[in-house]
């Protein structure tokens, strides 16, 4: 199933800009979430041990459906499996390494990050002032193309090191 998604993703890429906010948009975003895990370095103490899974949390309304689950299915990063957790309310948030904050909850990003563990949580959003509200990586749509905004300061605050290779692709704010 993952393979099918990957194929779908790759073949769809040239048409990303024209897609708009559709189901395809979230398939790409789900793949991006997975890729972030590869270009971001977490402090070692966020994992209980070397086998502890990489937990991706989705806070607020879930725009991915099943696509996110499928994007990480059977995949690992540095030998860690992926676990997807969904939090409806703030009080539901548990410890996780990547926390996708849906557009509806963009303003409560800092609270959410604190709820998810404070340090060592990579927050990813898709609202226009997500960075301003303390988010680290924000998806933008620019000329029908999915772009990235990354706050190096927020990342540093969260004790995360973001690869220069990723930064080259993003708009650093």
């Amino acid at each position: 199933m993952g393979m099918a998604v990957a194929i779908l993703l790759l073949t769809a890429l040239p048409q990303i800009g024209a897609v708009g906010r559709t189901a395809n948009e979230y398939e790409v975003k789900a793949a991006f979430l997975y890729n972030f895990a590869q270009f971001v370095e977490w402090p070692s103490d966020v994992f209980r041990d070397s086998k502890s899974p990489m937990v991706i949390g989705v806070f607020g309304q879930d725009p991915f459906g099943s696509t996110l689950d499928e994007a990480v299915k059977n995949k690992t990063v540095n030998g860690r499996r992926f676990v997807i957790k969904r939090f409806k309310a703030l009080r539901d948030i548990e410890t996780c390494q990547i926390l996708f904050v849906s557009a509806s909850e963009g303003e409560r990003v800092e609270k959410a990050a604190r709820a998810a563990g404070g340090k060592g949580v990579l927050t990813v959003g898709e609202s226009s002032h997500f960075i301003d509200h303390g988010g680290i990586i924000n998806f933008t749509i620019d000329n029908s193309k999915i772009g990235l905004e990354i706050s190096v300061d927020h990342a540093r605050n969260a004790s995360l090191k973001i690869s220069s290779k990723l930064l080259r692709l993003a708009k650093v704010v």
Binding site: L10, F32, Q38, L148, K165, R168, L169
Partner: protein, 1046 residues
């Protein structure tokens, strides 16, 4: 290469050095270049691979987030590298993600999809594929293609630098080579110069200068030495050449001489060839040469004369097809094929007599000597041919003449044999009848006349025999007939036959076979007898007193043959020296007067001489007039199978005294007695004998036996016997008298003096042995075999015999009949063989005297028939041949036919009776039919288990029973009742069986057989035979019965 060899050594050295230098430099440069190029490529690969890695690493994020912009930026950074022609980033699916190229040309070269990871040079460019990995997972591939212009530029520069360096090196090398080659080349050039000088100027005195100690130095030394040698050799050669030149001149001269000689020889050869050709063509014999195909290739005039063909007519044509009669062609073709292959054949290399064919078709005998010649591997033949028609005629003439002569000779010899037979028959009559007449009462003068008649007739007979023998010898018709014999027995027998004659003249006749001479030989005893009889006869004839001694010794002996030496010595008149050689010639005698005084033909010695020669020996004489003669002869006999004489054990160790005045006799007796292991002592007179006996008696070793010679001077044998008998201590001694002649009353005297027996000298070994054994055994009947040599006693041993005389000649019939009847025998006459056989079938005879030459059926045939009839029965009637045949083989023919003995006509009574005696002995040995008591008492006793009483009772009954049966037989025969005859004969046979009366049993058996066949006539004869047989046994049986009565 050729050119190189010829250039000066200096250039060679430089060239070699330069070549080596260049090759080394080039190889070194090439090595450096290869290394440089390799290094450049390696560096470039490393650089480009690094580039690819950097670009790839930088592109991971772009690939992960599908960011073309970023990726393109990264690739465009490659612009800084001028060598990069193109680059491309492929996504994880292998699709081109972004591309980079320096010019449009590069675009086309970018592969559509990524290749195998790694670096490789393609079309002069280096291409590198490298996987782009994220978290160890491939997410794409980077492709970079780089040109190699940089490398090429580098290499070019490098090559330029190397070339310059090389050129400089070569130049330096050339300078150095040019400089240093002199070290080697200069001494060689120097040496070459000198040798050139030597060879051109022939100046061997110059020497090269040695300037180093290396191989060239050695070379110079050797060269100098060689020059010295050459110089020396030169001098020697000079002298040699001078010598050789002289030699060659001499040889040339010689060759010239030889050539001249050859020319002369050639001329001679031509002349010889010419001569040969002339000989070939003009010779008297035909000469034909036949080539390998069988065609005539040479034909001379003589051949033309012989065969009638000219050489034109025959040359090149098949030789034998023309010259041999047609019937021989096949055989000749075959022989010629063999000849062509092998060069040999049955008529090659010798003279052969063949049949030739003339041109006119006539055949004629030729003699051809054929020789084979091989020319170029093919066989040719040369035939020398002679017409032998005339010679053949002469040969035939000679053959005819020879045959005629032989026929004449045969006729003569037959005539002689016949004549001899014809003369013998009447002579036989004269001798025999005279003998008979002499036995009758005659007036003194009548007896005297008749004695003369008898002697004359006998002389005539011996003359006849001699002439016959001599003629046979002359005609080479006398053949030897060797038979096995025992020497001593034979010689003694011959001598004893001559004893009478000796004793008549009161001569001692002694015979001595030397001890050590073997006894068993193979030889012709008849001829030996003839020689001995002749020589002894002569000796006796020419000796008036004294002795005749025959000595036999062995000269040499091999495994198969022995040479015996006989000598006959007499004490007679002797032969003068000048006559000694003549006497062995025919018709010669010692003296013309001798003939008148002693008679004789003079043939005897000639015959003896011939006979000894035939027997491989010779004869000679030693003689002194008045003292006597000794005749010697040698003969060769074959060695016979050894018949060992059984040693008379009973005689062993017996102490025996021999009393004889004759020394020879004493020695002979001593030898004989010693052979039997007796202990003989010799005494030469009566006195010595008595003395010896007394001494022996005292020594407690008395003589058991004394052999006494009856006639001794002073005291004769009988007187000595008297003295022995009257001497108490000696009276018991057994005496045997030996006498030299028969003296009236000798037998009576012997009996009177209790002399066991007497023997007439010369004594036969066997006889002596028998006598001694009998005498020592004691209790001899008065009439015993000791009298066998006594003429009167001879026949008394035997019963009167029934003899069948078979003889066609009436005179002989009468003579023999009278002679036999005079001795009490009954004679049945048969006129020929057929009659004889008929008689034999029907009657029983004790002996048959058979003439050999008879009409109808001769003696040989008759004998064969009789022996055939006897076959299967136990009968063997003795048959004695009487023959006037004096030819070789008669005796053998007679014996082969089954006869037992042989007497020659005219019949000498002695001989006849001796033969009868011998044959009867044989018959007794065979069947005991005659000469023995006709009944076998022992057998009869066994039948009754030893009950003498019973036997006597049977004997008592026999007479009457026998008469009764015979009467019955008679009447049955009269009635021709064969059945009854058979039955009675059978009964008779059984009765006779009780007494073992073999003769009678056989007679009854014969009767029974004939009766069974119902042959009454034969039965009658058998009956009469049975009757006479019964007649014979009746007295014995009667005696048996009488003993019972007593």
């Amino acid at each position: 290469m050729r050119a190189f060899r010829d250039i000066p050594i200096k250039s060679k050295l430089i060239a070699i050095t330069m070549l080596v230098s260049c090759v080394v430099l080039l190889l070194a440069c090439a090595g450096i270049l290869v290394q440089e190029s390799f290094d450049n490529k390696k560096i470039m690969v490393r650089d480009v691979s690094t580039q690819a890695k950097i670009v790839g690493d930088n592109s991971t994020a772009a690939l992960a987030f599908f960011d073309h912009e970023s990726a393109r930026e990264i690739l465009n950074a490659l612009q800084a590298k001028t060598n990069i022609v193109s680059a491309c980033l492929y996504d994880s699916k292998g699709k081109q993600f972004v591309r980079y190229f320096r010019s449009n040309k590069g675009l086309a070269l970018i592969p559509k999809s990524p290749g195998k990871e790694g670096a490789r040079f393609v079309n002069g460019n280096l291409i590198v594929f490298r996987r782009v990995r994220l978290d160890n997972k491939p997410i794409g591939t980077i492709y970079i293609e780089s040109d190699t212009l940089q490398i090429q530029a580098n290499m070019r520069r490098f090559v330029t630098i190397l070339s310059i360096a090389m050129l400089i090196s070569i130049f330096v090398a050339f300078l150095m080579a040019s400089r240093f080659q002199r070290i080697i080349s200069e001494p060689i050039l120097c040496l070459a110069g000198i040798s050139k000088a030597v060879s051109i100027d022939k100046n061997y005195s110059v020497r090269a200068v040695k300037c180093s100690g290396d191989e060239i130095g050695t070379l110079i030394d050797c060269f100098n030495e060689m020059l010295s040698c050459v110089q020396q050799r030169d001098a020697e050669l000079e002298t040699r050449v001078a010598e050789r030149t002289a030699e060659v001149e001499a040889r040339n001269k010689q060759l010239n001489d030889e050539i001249a000689e050859r020319k002369r020889a050639q001329a001679a050869l031509s002349a010889s060839e010419e001569r040969f050709r002339i000989v070939g063509t003009s010779m008297h014999d035909g000469a034909i040469v036949v080539d390998e195909a069988g065609n005539v290739s040479f034909w001379n005039e003589a051949a033309q004369r012989i065969f009638g063909y000219t050489s034109d007519e025959i040359i090149g044509k098949s030789c034998h097809a023309i010259l041999a009669p047609h019937r021989f062609h096949e055989a000749i073709d075959k022989a010629f094929a063999d000849f062509a292959a092998t060069g040999s054949g049955s008529i090659v290399g010798r003279d052969s007599e063949l049949i030739g064919l003339r041109k006119d078709g006539s055949e004629f005998p030729i003699e051809m000597s054929l020789s084979a010649v091989q020319v170029k591997g093919r066989w040719h033949s040369i035939g020398i041919i002679r017409d032998i028609t005339k010679r053949k005629e002469v040969e035939n003439e000679i053959t005819r003449a020879k045959e005629a002569a032989e026929a004449a000779s045969r006729a003569k010899s037959e005539f002689l044999a016949n004549m001899s037979h014809e003369i013998r028959t009447p002579l036989n009559g004269i001798v025999g009848m005279t003998g008979l007449a002499l036995d009758t009462d005659l007036a003194v003068d009548q007896r005297e006349y008749l004695e003369i008649v008898k002697v004359s007739a006998e002389a005539l007979l011996s003359l006849l025999n001699d002439i016959l023998d001599f003629s046979k010898i002359e005609a080479r018709k006398l053949e030897l007939n060797p038979v096995p014999f025992t020497l001593r027995e034979c010689v003694q027998e011959i001598i004893s036959s001559l004893a009478v004659k000796a004793h008549e003249k009161h001569l001692e006749l002694a015979c001595r076979v030397m001890p050590g001479v073997a006894d068993d030989f193979v030889g012709d005893t008849l001829r030996l007898r003839q020689i001995i009889v002749n020589l002894v006869g002569n000796a006796l004839k020419f000796t008036d007193r004294g002795e005749v001694v025959v000595l036999v010794d062995s000269i040499s002996q091999t495994e198969s043959e022995a040479t015996l030496h006989f000598s006959i010595s007499d004490t007679g008149i002797g032969i003068p020296k000048d006559k000694q050689n003549q006497i062995f010639s025919a018709f010669e005698q010692g003296d013309g007067s001798t003939t008148r005084k002693y008679g004789g033909t003079g043939l005897g010695l000639a015959i003896a001489s011939e006979l000894t020669r035939m027997m491989g020996g010779r004869i000679w004489v030693e003689s002194e007039v008045g003292r006597g003669s000794t005749f010697h002869f040698t003969v060769i006999f074959g060695i016979g199978e050894k018949t060992t004489e059984s040693m008379p054990l009973e005689l062993e160790g017996v102490h025996v005294l021999v009393v004889d005045d004759n020394a020879t006799n004493r020695i002979i007796l001593e030898e004989i007695l010693s052979r039997w292991h007796m202990r003989p002592v010799l005494a030469e007179c009566g006195d010595a004998a008595i003395a010896a006996m007394e001494i022996a008696c005292q020594d407690k070793d008395p003589f058991l036996l004394v052999l006494l010679d009856s006639h001794m001077p002073e005291v004769d044998g009988f007187a000595v016997a008297d003295r022995i008998r009257t001497n108490e201590s000696l009276a018991d001694t057994t005496l045997i008298m030996l006498t030299s002649g028969e003296h009236f009353g000798d037998i009576a005297k012997c009996q009177e003096k209790d002399i066991k027996c007497y023997l007439i000298k010369p004594i036969k070994n066997s006889e002596l042995r028998n006598k001694i054994t009998l005498a020592l055994g004691g209790g001899l009947p008065t009439k015993n075999k000791c009298a066998t040599t006594n003429k009167e006693g001879d026949m008394e041993v035997y019963h009167h015999l029934r003899i069948l005389l078979v003889e066609d000649n009436q005179i002989n019939q009468k003579l023999a009949q009278r002679l036999l009847e005079k001795h009490g025998h009954s004679v049945v006459l048969a006129n020929d063989g057929r009659q004889a056989v008929a008689f034999f079938e029907n009657e029983m005879f004790d002996s048959i005297l058979m003439d050999v030459q008879m009409p109808e059926m001769d003696g040989i045939q008759a004998t064969s028939a009789i022996r055939a009839l006897e076959k299967g029965t136990s009968r063997h009637v003795p048959i004695v041949a009487m023959t006037a045949h004096a030819m070789v083989g008669d005796r053998e023919r007679c014996l082969a036919a089954g006869m037992d003995d042989y007497v020659s006509k005219p019949i000498q009574p002695d001989e006849l009776f001796r033969a009868l005696e011998r044959t009867i002995d044989i018959a007794q040995g065979n069947s005991k039919m005659t000469g023995e008591p006709p009944i076998d008492l022992d057998f009869a006793l066994t039948r009754v288990e030893g009950d003498m009483q019973l036997l006597r009772e049977i004997a008592g009954l026999f007479g009457e029973e026998c008469r009764r049966l015979m009467d019955n037989l008679q009447s049955a025969l009269d009635n021709s009742d064969a059945k009854t005859v058979e039955k009675i004969a059978h009964t008779m046979k059984g009765m006779l069986g009780n007494f073992g009366a073999k003769g009678a049993i056989e007679a009854s058996l014969t009767l029974e057989r004939f009766a069974k066949q119902a042959d009454m006539e034969k039965s009658m004869t058998a009956y009469s035979n049975l009757e006479s047989a019964l007649e014979l046994i009746r007295p014995f049986i009667a005696k048996l019965a009488l003993e019972e009565a007593a």
